[in-house]
Symmetry: D2
Subunit: 335 residues, 4 copies
C-alpha cells in the first residue's frame, strides 16, 4: 500500500512519465490556511537546481488542488493535490527495457508485476514521487507550528566539504552517496509508544519510503554500540526532562523525551551513473555492458533534505494527533 | 498500539513484574503443528544464560497455550500464549520510584501515562516483553519452512572477539553495547512494495520495537554513502536475479530481489549499570547520585539475536502472506 | 477516513461543486485490462436518467485516468481516476447557507468542521461522490469474473410497481424512499471471518457509506426474528454446502456458505424535496419555512442499485484477496 | 482478524470448550479505576439466567486481569482479561462431528480451516466469546461517563409480551428469535465521518460481529423507505441541533447530530433447537434426521441486550477518542 499514518494519512500515487504524480491526505484538521505559494520553496528545494550534480530537468511543479481546500483553507475532507508531468522524454528509456539497470527497481518490479509495470523512466518506481512527499510535508510543517524540522547534508562521498565531494564524483564520472541529518526542536514529551509504535519505528518506516535510503541511526546510533552505559546514558536535569547530553537522540523507550530529536540517514549513490556498467539482458540472456543515457543526478543525496523533513514532519503530525497535541477543528491546531 | 502486521498480526501485552506477559497472533494459517517443545530452544537462547554478562534471573518461561491450538495444530483462530511471571522481587524497584533512571522509560512513561504506569521493574516498558516476540518468531519461523533466518553478534563493545568485549565491561564495572547482524536465505523475489510498504520500512518498523536498538542498516548501509555508483550497484547475472555483489542487502526499490537479505542493528549499552550515575529526583527536585540495584545484564546485545530473528521472521511471514507465498489453509504453508 | 478495504483499498475524495471527485485504488492486481469504455454503462446507470424522478443534471462523467494504468492494463501501482465537475450552479446553494437543511449534513458538517467545510451543494457531503464508488465497482466487478453482483429495486414508496410509487411522489410534490436488493451468485465458501470481520460486518460497513441508507438485512433479515429455529435453519443438502432454503442469505457464522448472497437495504426519501419545510436559521436563531431550490431527485433510490453493486463488489474483492481467491499478478485473477 | 477499533482497539480470542476466552484492549486511557466488581452485573446479565428459555450452564465468569491494570487503575498499557472455561461437556458435541448443524458455522468453518478448527461446542465459532465483548463494554461504558447506552428487547417471536413469546417457543419445542433496540443519550454532535467511516458503518460493523444478528436499522429504518421526505426529515429546532422528530435515529450524513442515537437489530432464532431437523452427513454423504442434544437457549435474543450495549459502547469510545472527546491521560476521561 502506498499509504502511511494512522490519523494523518498520506496516500501517494503516480508515475515518472505517466500523466501525473499526486497525493491524497486524509485526516488533516479543518481550518488550516493553504495556498499554492506555501509549496513553492520546498518544491524548489527538492529540485536541487542550485547544486552542480543535480539533473537539469525543469518540472515547474506547481501543485494543483483537486479537493479538500475551499476559500483558502482546508475543509477537513480529503485533500488531493496533483503534479502534472511535462517535458518527459520516454524514448530515453524504452530502448533499454531488456536491460534491467543495476540498483534500480527494473528487475524486482518486473518480477512482482509480471511485466505490466509502467517501465518508462522507472514508472511508479521513481524518485518523481518524492514531490508528493514534499507536498505532504509542507502541510505537515504548517500544522507543526513552532516545532522546527530541519535537515542538512552532513557529507557527500565521505567529504564534509560538499563541493569537494561533488567534484570527486564529477572527476570520476560516477555517481556518489551521502549522509543527511534531521533535527527537530520543540517536540513535547510523550510521542510514540513502547514496542511496535515506538517513535523510532514510525519514523524509520516513513524514512525508508524515500528511495535510496539504506540506513538510519538515532542519537549516537551505531556509535552507541561501542560506548559504556555511563557514557551513553543521558542524565536528566530537571522536571522538563532536559538531559545533559543527548545520546538517545530525543527518544527513550520509544517515546519522545522533550529533548532535540536527532537522527541521520545513509543515502546510496544514485543508481544511474554515466559510467559503463554490466548487467544481464532479458532478451539475449547474456551479460552485457551498457551505460545509462538521459538526465540523472550525480548525487541524489542533494535532493534528500527537503524530502526527509517532509516524511519526518508528517510522521510527527500523526504522533501529535494521536496524543491530542493538535486539535481536530479550526484554529486549535495553533499549538 | 502494541500490534504489528497486516495479515499475520502480532499483539503483545504484559508487564515485567505483573501477572504475566503474553501475545495474541491473528491470521496464522490453520494446520501448523505446534507444541510447547517448539518454543524451548529459542526461549532458552533469549535468556542468554550461557554467557557471562547476562542476568541470572531464571524465568522457566514455558509458554501456556490459551487459545487457537487444538490437537497439536493451529486452528486458524487467534492464538494466545501466556508467560507467567515468577520469582520477581518488586522491592528492588519501588524504593527508586522518585528517581527516573537515565536511559530507561521511567521519565517518559510517567509523563505519558500521568503516573498510572506500572513502575515495577519497568512495568510494560521492559525487555521482559521480548519473550512474546520470541514466541511469535517461533511460529513465524515454522511457517517460513526452508527460508532460514539467522542472527549473529558481530561485535560487543567494539570487539569482534566477544569474550574480550565482555571482559572490558566487567573490568569497567559498566554495561556495554553491540552490533547484531541478521541474514535470511531463500526469500523469493517480490516481497515488499515501493515507498511506504518497502521491505526496509516494514523490517525497520519491527526492529525498532526491540528495546535498545538505535540504528539499522541494510547491505552496505552507511558505508554506501561513501561509495561510487559503479562500486555500489550489484550487477545482475541471470534470470533468477542473482547479483555478483550484494551491497543492496537483498532489497532493491523496496522489493526483495532474491539474493540474501542482510542487515545490521546497533544496540546501545544496557541502561542499568552497576556504576554510579547522576539523575534528577522528582521529590527533592535536586540532582543526585545513585546506582542501580537488582539483577541486570551487562550487555543486553547478547540476548538480542533470537529476538531479532523473531521480529524479522514475523515481518517476512506477513510479506509472504501479502504476496500469497503462504497458503491460508492446511499443509499448503509448506512452501 | 474515506478509505475502505484491507488489500483492495478504496480512497474517495472530492466535492459536489469543487474541482472534481475521484478515487485512488491501492492493491489492484496487475494485468487487468481497463479502458474508459468499461465505465460508461455503470456511470450511465448511476445517472438514473431514464426514470422520471431523477435530476436532469448532465455530468458527462468520463473517468480520467491519472495513474496506475499503462498500455490498457493495470500496473499494480495505485490507480487514480478523476471525474471533473462541470455545469455546476453554486448560486443555487450559497444563499441558503444560514439554513441547515433538514435531513442533510449541513448542520453536522458545520459543527464538526467549524464552518470550514465546503458548503456548496453539500460539498464533500454529497451523493456526487458515489460516482467514485461506481468507478471502483467497475474494476471490482471485472476482477470478480464470473461472480455476478446484481442489484434491483424492490419497491419505491412502498409500491412494488415502481411507476406507481414514483407517481405517488410526483402527485404529492414530495420525495420518496425505497428498498433495494443485492444478489451475488458464484461466491466460494469461506469468505469472511467470525466476529469482527464477518462478511455481514464488512458488507454493512461499506453499504452504510452510501448516503441515505438507513437499514440492511441479510437473508430473511428482520423476518427471521419472528421465525422458529426449524423454519429458519437452512438444511444442508450436499458436500458443496448447497442448502434447501436460503434464510441465512448465504452467510453462516460470518462466513459465506456457497449459496446465493442476498441482502436488502432501506433508502430514506431524498432529503431535498420541493415541498415547504421548517428549519432553524443560524443567523436569525428563529425557526423558518423554506423550500429547497435547485435540481434534485424525487427518489434517490433509483440511482442506488449500481452504487450498491459497486460497494458490494469491492468488498467481495477484498474478501477474495484475503482468502487468496484472486491472484496478485497477471492473468491469474481470471478465476 | 478478530479486532475492532482504531484508537480503542478490542481483540477477542478463545474457544467454547478450550482453555479460555479472553480479550486484549489496546488504547484504553490510563487512570480509569477498574475492579472485578465492575464486571459482575453485566456478566450476570449476559447469562440471561432469570429468564426461562436460557441455558442452565453456570459459568461463574469471573474476569482474570492479566495485564494493563495496576493499583486498581488502568495503566495505559494493553489490558488483558481472561475467562477460564469450566464445567464443559465436550462429549455432547464430538459424536455429532460428521453432521454439520444447520444454522451453525460447522460447515463453513470446516471448509475455511480445512478440518483443523476446534469443533468442540462450536470452538471459536461460539456465543461463548460474547463474554469478551461484554467485558470490553464494561470498560467502554465507564469511559463514556454520563453517556447512557441502554438496550432492551422489543419483541420475542413477534410478541411484545416477552413471556408470551417464550411460551410459544416452549409449546412448539422450538427455538425463537427477537428484536433488540439500543438507545444512547448524551452523545455530542460530530462523531463519525461521511462515507466509509460513518457512524452507521462503524456501529453496524461491530453489531454484525454478534452471532445471530441478521439485520440492523437506524431511526425509522426500513419504515423510512415508505415515507415522504417531509414526513421523514427531522426539523432542526435550535443551535444545539435538537430536532422535533428523530427519524434519522441521531445520525445525519454519517455524523451524530446530538439527538438520541436509536437503532434496532434482528436476532434469528437459536440455531440449536430441540426439534428434529435434517442435514447432510459428511461421512455417509446422505441426508439424515438429527436433533441437537446438550444445553441450549431457546431464545438467544434474551442474552443479547448486554452484548449490544457493549459493542455499541466500545464503538462510541473509539469515535469519541477520534474526535478527542476523551482525554488520553488521567482523569480527563471524565467528560
Amino acid at each position: 500500500m502506498n499509504s502511511f499514518g494512522r490519523l494523518f494519512r498520506i496516500h501517494i500515487f503516480g508515475e515518472s512519465h505517466g500523466e501525473s504524480a499526486g497525493l491524497v491526505i486524509d485526516g488533516c484538521p479543518a481550518g488550516l490556511p493553504l495556498s499554492v505559494e506555501d509549496f513553492l520553496t520546498d518544491i524548489e528545494r527538492r529540485k536541487g537546481g542550485n547544486h552542480k550534480g543535480t539533473t537539469p530537468r525543469k518540472e515547474d511543479d506547481l501543485p494543483i488542488f483537486k479537493s479538500g481546500i475551499f476559500n483558502g483553507h482546508t475543509t477537513g475532507a480529503p485533500i488531493t493535490i496533483l503534479f502534472e508531468n511535462k517535458n518527459t522524454r520516454s524514448g530515453d528509456y524504452e530502448k533499454q527495457r531488456a536491460v534491467p539497470r543495476p540498483g534500480h527497481a527494473d528487475f524486482t518490479a518486473h518480477a512482482k508485476y509480471g511485466g505490466f509495470e509502467d517501465f518508462r523512466g522507472g514508472g511508479h518506481f521513481s524518485g518523481r514521487l518524492t514531490v508528493c512527499m514534499v507536498a505532504a510535508g509542507v502541510i505537515a510543517k504548517k500544522l507543526l507550528g513552532h516545532i522546527q524540522v530541519v535537515s542538512t547534508i552532513l557529507e557527500i562521498g565521505g567529504e564534509a566539504d560538499l563541493e569537494k565531494g561533488l567534484q570527486k564524483a564529477i572527476d570520476a564520472k560516477d555517481s556518489i552517496g551521502g549522509i543527511v541529518e534531521c533535527r527537530v526542536n520543540g517536540l513535547p514529551v510523550g510521542l510514540g509508544e513502547h514496542f511496535f509504535d515506538s517513535a523510532e519505528s514510525l519514523i524509520s518506516h516513513a524514512v525508508f519510503a524515500i528511495p535510496a535510503v539504506k540506513g538510519i541511526e538515532f542519537g549516537a546510533g551505531f556509535a552507541a554500540a561501542r560506548m559504556f552505559g555511563t557514557e551513553h546514558n543521558d542524565a536528566i536535569e530537571d522536571a522538563s526532562g532536559k538531559t545533559r547530553t543527548n545520546h538517545a537522540g530525543g527518544i527513550v523507550g520509544g517515546i519522545t523525551n522533550g529533548n532535540e530529536l536527532v537522527f541521520r540517514i545513509a543515502i546510496k549513490p544514485t543508481s544511474s551513473t554515466p559510467k559503463e556498467q554490466q548487467t544481464w539482458n532479458w532478451e539475449t540472456n547474456a551479460i552485457e555492458s551498457f551505460s545509462v543515457k538521459g538526465r540523472h543526478d550525480l548525487c541524489i543525496a542533494l535532493r534528500v533534505p527537503v524530502v526527509l523533513e517532509a516524511v519526518t514532519a508528517f510522521t510527527l503530525v500523526d504522533l501529535m494527533l494521536l496524543e491530542q497535541r493538535i486539535g481536530r477543528i479550526g484554529p486549535s491546531f495553533m499549538l
